[in-house]
Every structure is written in structure tokens, then in C-alpha cells.
């Protein structure tokens, strides 16, 4: 029996965003395969595959420990600087790597996307997924650092999974948006590393929030990364949690995710004509 409703209806008009999201969800198995592919290739090709994931934030931490803490004497709220920095650099590496890779996600996969149909949202989602796995692997080192500095694990840290979820959502939004933008304007990918660098300095990653003058704090907390990092440090080091900036962070995440994904879905269908 043929269904009376067509299984697939192709129309010249745009499909509703909600239908596109449903379709993307129906393709989650493909998302899993893309993540599996990238992990497999990377972890097989280089013996350093797994090591890189750990080394990147670790080496960055080392560099900043030498230059920021030892030489420039940047304070770290009385905490051991390497642990202070690594706790923030770990999620930051997840975010920045995802965003930088996703920018070339659609252009880099143009061979596949001009030959086969699947919801394009899968591409940035897979990139973020791979980076999330990297992040979780690198967390092992963080646990080691915590233990070596004699830090205890407390129930307050139960907020960390929530923060990771929030960061993932924010990262996926930004990644999707930039992957489309890089098709529209080819030099986005060139400009981005600089912007990411600036973004890092606009977040309390290698310095504590206490260095930011109080009158700028509200503006500063509009950067959702800032609220997440603060909350992570507060929970790990037993400092008072700044609910205001965390709330702002989550609100900005939700709104930006909605806007970015909406933009992505809106552009998705006409991408192929210009890719």
C-alpha cells in the first residue's frame, strides 16, 4: 500500500525550520558515523593522535604559566596557576577548535554535499561531537592535575556536566553559523583565528575575573564563555558562585543557539548553489 501522503514533498518554497530539525534528528545515525570516522582516522593515523588532544591544552597551560604567572605575575585568585589556567583552557580548547574546524566544515565537505542529500546540520554537529570526545579525553589529565595538587572532589562539581552541556550547545550554534558564513564570505576563515584569539583575551581564561574593573563586569558577562568559566572555577575551587553571570551565560547561549541554527536552516537549502 502506498501512503496517501507523499513521503517526500519537494517544493520550491522553503521548508519550515522545524521540519528541517526533525529531519536532522532522524539522521542521527549518520552523525554517529561521521564522528566515528573522524575519531578512527585521527587516532589511527598518528600515534600522537590521542596524545595531541592532551598535549594541546597542556602545552598552552605551560606557556601561559611561564609567561603570565611567572613573568607577568598575573594573579590567579590564590590558586595554583597551572590548575587555574588548565581548568579554563580545557573547555576553551574545545570551543575554539570546534569553531575553527567547523568554519571549513561545509566548504571542506563540498564533494559529499554536492553528491548526496542529508541534513547539513550534521556536518558542524559531527565536528563539535569529535571535539567533545577530545575534550573528555583531555579531562583525564585535569583529574590527574587536581589530584597532584591535592584538590578534593566535592558535590559542588556536579554542576560541571551542566556547564559542559551549555558550552556544547553554544559551540554548536556558533559553529553552524560560521560554517555557513564561510560559504557566503570566503575570508571568514582567514579572519577567524584572530577573532578567536581576541575572544580568548576577552574571557577570564588566563587571568582571573578580579582583574576586570567592576563597572565593566556586566558587559563582560555578556560573553557566555566568561560566565561558564567562572562557574566552573567556582565549583571546582569552592568559590562563591556568581549566579547572575551564569544566568546571563545560559540565556545568551539559548538565544544565540536559536538564532544561529535558524539562520543555518534558512540558508541550508540554497547553499549548494553557491558552495
Amino acid at each position: 500500500m502506498l501512503p496517501r501522503q507523499p513521503l517526500i514533498a519537494i517544493r520550491a518554497s522553503r521548508s519550515p525550520v522545524l521540519a528541517q530539525l526533525k529531519e536532522a534528528f532522524a539522521h542521527r545515525e549518520l552523525l554517529y558515523f561521521f564522528i566515528w570516522r573522524d575519531l578512527k582516522v585521527r587516532y589511527r593515523q598518528t600515534i600522537l593522535g590521542a596524545a595531541w588532544v592532551i598535549l594541546q591544552p597542556l602545552l598552552t597551560t605551560l606557556v601561559f604559566t611561564i609567561f603570565m604567572s611567572r613573568l607577568a605575575r598575573v594573579p590567579s585568585d590564590g590558586l595554583p596557576y597551572p590548575l587555574f589556567a588548565y581548568t579554563a583552557l580545557l573547555p576553551w580548547t574545545f570551543f575554539s577548535n570546534s569553531v575553527l574546524t567547523s568554519t571549513y566544515g561545509l566548504t571542506g565537505n563540498s564533494v559529499i554535499i554536492t553528491k548526496i542529500y542529508f541534513p547539513r546540520l550534521i556536518i558542524p554537529a559531527a565536528i563539535v561531537g569529535v571535539r567533545l570526545v577530545d575534550f573528555l579525553v583531555a579531562c583525564v589529565v585535569w583529574v590527574g592535575l587536581m589530584l597532584s595538587y591535592g584538590m578534593g572532589f566535592t558535590p559542588r562539581m556536579l554542576i560541571l556536566p551542566v556547564l559542559v552541556a551549555n558550552l556544547t550547545v553554544f559551540t554548536l550554534g556558533v559553529s553552524s553559523y560560521l560554517s555557513v558564513l564561510n560559504i557566503r564570505y570566503r575570508d571568514v576563515g582567514t579572519l577567524l583565528p584572530v577573532l578567536i584569539q581576541l575572544w580568548m583575551f576577552a574571557s577570564p581564561i588566563i587571568y582571573p575575573l578580579s582583574l576586570v574593573p567592576p563597572k565593566w563586569r556586566l558587559l563582560y558577562s555578556l560573553n557566555p564563555i566568561s560566565g561558564m568559566i567562572e562557574a566552573a572555577r567556582a565549583s571546582v575551587f569552592g568559590l562563591p558562585l556568581n549566579w547572575r553571570s551564569l544566568t546571563i551565560s545560559i540565556a545568551v547561549t539559548v538565544v544565540s543557539f536559536a538564532v544561529f541554527v535558524y539562520y543555518f536552516c534558512r540558508s541550508e537549502e540554497n547553499l549548494i548553489d553557491i558552495v
Binding site: 517526500i8 519537494i10 520550491a12 558515523f33 570516522r37 553528491k115 542529500y117 557566503r184 564570505y185 549548494i272
Partner: protein, 263 residues
């Protein structure tokens, strides 16, 4: 019998722009803005030309039909297949499809050179739309069809080109959607393998699967298809039994040739 696929007034229009502003950079956007702010929403004053890749195409296809699409290069065949595969969107018209569509516009889409034959079978199967359970079930059959049993654990970058296309085609050939769209993918491998592919496709149509086939190999089209669509300059010139349509196509080519030699 109700058609499994209905195409109504399908059209695809492309905007052919000056090369410079197809994909502008932010830098160019900024410079243009500085030079002539009023033109931000225009296209920089450049003439844009509209090109119909496909126009007013309508037809119905019943379940189990094997339809060949023929026409010269640039006639719009691939545009039609890409719309049916949902890779591009039409500018006008609509298509209703009452079944799953599997489209193979290229074989081995998404094959990764560093992954083994086994891994690529699962990956490619997922990309073309097979469920994991389905590819697992058909795995042995696929490998036997491709004749690469010994090299399953070898990365495909070490495969000979023959092995590579055989494996890629084998995955595709074991995909069983209600509607299968094939673009020039039968032209792979040696004569014996091609014969095997044709047989597999015949078998699929006997099982009631609907197949769309684009090929420059008129011979293959005639062997496999019962019906053909002739597309010329984006329009559906003729729709009918494969023998008659191929005749028209050959005449069309002959006409062009004599016109060219007259000049």
C-alpha cells in the same frame, strides 16, 4: 495504479553573475560599501543573467518502471536528478515522492582513504542512507559481490582502482530503496563487472523497484530501461518507450552535427 513519483512544472533557474561577486569576501563587501553605499543590496551594478537549467518539466512514474534520462551535455539531466535527490531545490514546481529515495550520483561518495574496506562499507552505507542494521545484514553479500574478501582490513588507499570502484558499487547495489537514482555509475569496472551490475539492476527492477538512470551509454539505457525521457535545453522534449526516444535523440545529434558542418 497510483504513481510513485509525480513531477509537476519543475523548473530550476540559476543566476549567472559576474565572476567577481559570486562569493564575495568580507573585504570586498566592505570596500564596495565604502565606494558606493547605495548599492549594498544590489549586486554591485553588475548585470546578472538568468539561466534556466530546467523548465516546465512534468511527468509521472509508476512503481517498478526503469526510466532512462538522455540528452546532451548540459541539457539539464543532472539538474533533474539533483532535484529529485534533494541536493538542490527547484525554483518552480513540485515533486511528490511516495517512497524512500536512494541516489547515487557518484559511487564511493564519502569513502575515506585511510579507513579499511570494512569500515568504508559501513560508512558509505550510512552516507547513502542505509540503516546500520541493514548494512550489517548485507555486509557479507556486499563483500562477495565486490570480490575483495582478502583485503577487508586494508585501508582503501592501497586498493587498485578496480577494487575501489567494485567495492563502492557493491555497497550502492545492495541499497534497496523504493526509488533508485543513478548517474553514470554503471560505467565502472571491466566488462564482466559491468555485466554483473546491469544484472543486479535488472533484478532490482523485477523486484518492483523504480530506477532513474542517466547515462551517455545509450546501449546500457536501452538494455535496462523500458521508458526514456529526452531532455534538451532544460525542457522535456520527449517521453515514451526507450526505442522511440533514443531514435529522436540520435536524430537530434545528427542534426546538430550537420548544422555544424554546414557552417
Amino acid at each position: 495504479m497510483a504513481p510513485i513519483l509525480q513531477v509537476r512544472d519543475l523548473g530550476k533557474q540559476y543566476r549567472v553573475r559576474g565572476v567577481a561577486d559570486v562569493n564575495p569576501t568580507l573585504r570586498e563587501l566592505f570596500l564596495n560599501l565604502v565606494k558606493s553605499p547605495s548599492q549594498l543590496n544590489g549586486n554591485g551594478g553588475q548585470e546578472s543573467e538568468l539561466l534556466w537549467a530546467l523548465r516546465d518539466v512534468s511527468f509521472d512514474v509508476n512503481a517498478g518502471e526503469v526510466v532512462g534520462i538522455i540528452g546532451r551535455n548540459g541539457a539539464g539531466k543532472s539538474t533533474l536528478l539533483k532535484i529529485l535527490s534533494r541536493i538542490i531545490k527547484p525554483t518552480f514546481g513540485e515533486v511528490d515522492i511516495y517512497g524512500r529515495v536512494g541516489s547515487l550520483l557518484e559511487i564511493g561518495t564519502g569513502f575515506h582513504p585511510d579507513l579499511t574496506g570494512r569500515e568504508n562499507v559501513y560508512l558509505n552505507a550510512a552516507i547513502i542512507g542505509m540503516r546500520r542494521e541493514e548494512s550489517r545484514r548485507k555486509f557479507d553479500e556486499i563483500v562477495a559481490f565486490a570480490e575483495v574478501e582478502k583485503f577487508l582490513e586494508t585501508p582503501v588507499k592501497y586498493y587498485s582502482s578496480g577494487m575501489y570502484v567494485r567495492l563502492a558499487f557493491a555497497v550502492a547495489a545492495h541499497f534497496e530503496p523504493e526509488i533508485l537514482i543513478l548517474d553514470e555509475v554503471l560505467a565502472v569496472g571491466d566488462a564482466a563487472f559491468r555485466e554483473k551490475c546491469l544484472k543486479k539492476m535488472k533484478q532490482a527492477s523485477v523486484q518492483g523497484r523504480t530506477i532513474f538512470l542517466v547515462s551517455h551509454d545509450l546501449d546500457a539505457v536501452q538494455k535496462l530501461c523500458s521508458r526514456a525521457l529526452l531532455i534538451e535545453k532544460g525542457k522535456l522534449l520527449e517521453d515514451g518507450p526507450v526505442a522511440a526516444v533514443s531514435e529522436t535523440y540520435l536524430q537530434l545529434i545528427a542534426e546538430r552535427k550537420s548544422k555544424r558542418s554546414d557552417r
